[in-house]
């Protein structure tokens, strides 16, 4: 069990942060840009080839798996983009693009001289689609997980449903606080939705219906919530079963 899958409802954490900035340090912008470029250059996307040497898959699921694999105390200790920096550096090392040694050596250089400029591109941009064009195109077009597969949903709006407690290991999109709970289908989304990766025994990946399910918070946290609150969650069909 990963605490990161069970955050909803966790108690005694103290006050929330009301920080409205997106980035609180300049370096955070750089790691965000690197992540977004990786998603755009990821090999599974049906976008034009570029001269980029990136040849593997990187999606949100990879970033999330990294964060969910962290020691749960470190997950709370490190700020959002600190977790990204760790996960993305680890990916490039693990996939053989860079070595830990060269990353350490270069880090020491920039630590000693933070104003030392970034290198320039080693070669003039090749003809055809450039890396930056593909990145912009990915942002403009997105990567819809929706499929036209005609899969009849098992439930309709208003149906009472039971949320399964599937065996999630590495990654899931089923929040822990909804497992083994009862809800009512609020919306049946048209079509079917895939997920970025196959989560194994957790059960998502291939296209399936998705439901918006309504929960009474008094049933989720009896005697320990607030009045007149309703909680809704979008849930893949494999997580949703017939009410007992």
């Amino acid at each position: 069990m990963k605490l990161q899958h069970y955050l909803g409802g966790l108690e005694s954490l103290g006050p929330v942060s009301t920080e409205t900035r997106v980035f609180v340090e300049e370096w955070e912008k750089r790691i965000f840009g690197i992540h977004t470029a990786m998603m755009a250059l990821s090999s599974q996307l049906p976008l034009p080839a570029t001269p980029s040497a990136f040849r593997t898959v990187w999606t949100w699921a990879d970033l999330r798996k990294g964060a969910e694999a962290m020691n749960p105390f470190d997950y709370f200790k490190y700020r959002y983009y600190e977790k990204w920096l760790g996960g993305i550096c680890g990916y490039f090392v693990a996939n053989g693009y860079i070595t830990e040694e060269e990353l350490e050596a270069r880090t020491a250089e920039y630590y000693a001289d933070p104003d030392k400029p970034l290198p320039q591109d080693s070669a003039a941009p090749a003809a055809g689609t450039t890396i930056d064009q593909r990145v912009e195109r990915y942002l403009m077009e997105g990567d819809s997980p929706k499929s036209d597969l005609d899969i009849a949903p098992a439930f309709k709006e208003g149906d009472a449903v039971h949320i399964r407690n599937v065996p999630s290991i590495v990654h899931t999109r089923l929040p822990g606080f909804l497992r083994n709970r009862s809800g009512v289908v609020e919306t049946v989304y048209p079509g079917a939705y895939g997920y970025l990766t196959d989560t194994g025994t957790d059960g998502i990946g291939a296209p399936m219906p998705v439901y918006c399910v309504r929960f009474a918070v008094e049933e989720l946290w009896p005697g320990n919530t607030e009045p007149n609150v309703t909680l809704y969650a979008d849930l893949y069909a494999t997580y949703v079963a017939t009410a007992a």
């Binding site: 990161q4 942060s17 900035r21 750089r30 840009g33 470029a37 880090t107 591109d121 909680l231 979008d234």
Partner: protein, 206 residues
Amino acid sequence: MSDRFQYPNDREARSAARAKALEALLIEKGIINATTVDTVLKVFETRMGPFNGAKIVARAWVDPAFKQRLVADTPAAIAELTDLPEGMAGAEGEHMRAVANGEGVHNLIICTLCSCYPWPVLGLPPYWYKDPTFRSRAAREPRAVLKEFGLDVPTATEVKVWDSSAQIRWFVIPERPAGTEGMSEAELAALVTPESMMGVAVANAA
């Protein structure tokens, strides 16, 4: 939370050096170009950002039929607006749904598993939204959380909390503030903050 942990004094300098080292290596190895990160950031400064959401909300305030269509079929309604940039169904906006605040209903968008956020119309998520403490607490005690943001939602008003756990990206149409009857759409859009479009604030007239 962070005051519970020990950090090195050069915490940010270390991260800045490591991020720059990574970017340098990726450029040298031909994975990205020297311009790529700035290309990404420019999109979020000029094309994908809360300035789009603010225009959409302002239109909903002046045109009740548009507001109805925006709630019923969010992408189709957004596609009607010709003064928005390209890419409104782009990354992290492929499938969006808007919910409207109104008499007796206040909506709050959360993501307890990560930080799902409607990029084309709101840009990138602010730190409060990404923080695990917010994500944990807003599910069980949204009113207490909203109070910490300075927003008092009376018990008679239903709080609807939407957890973005699948592929739909959500945003809130806040209520139009009183005293804005003579305002233009551009003036109205200036009243709409990212926080009001996620439900931790309301739109205010001044």
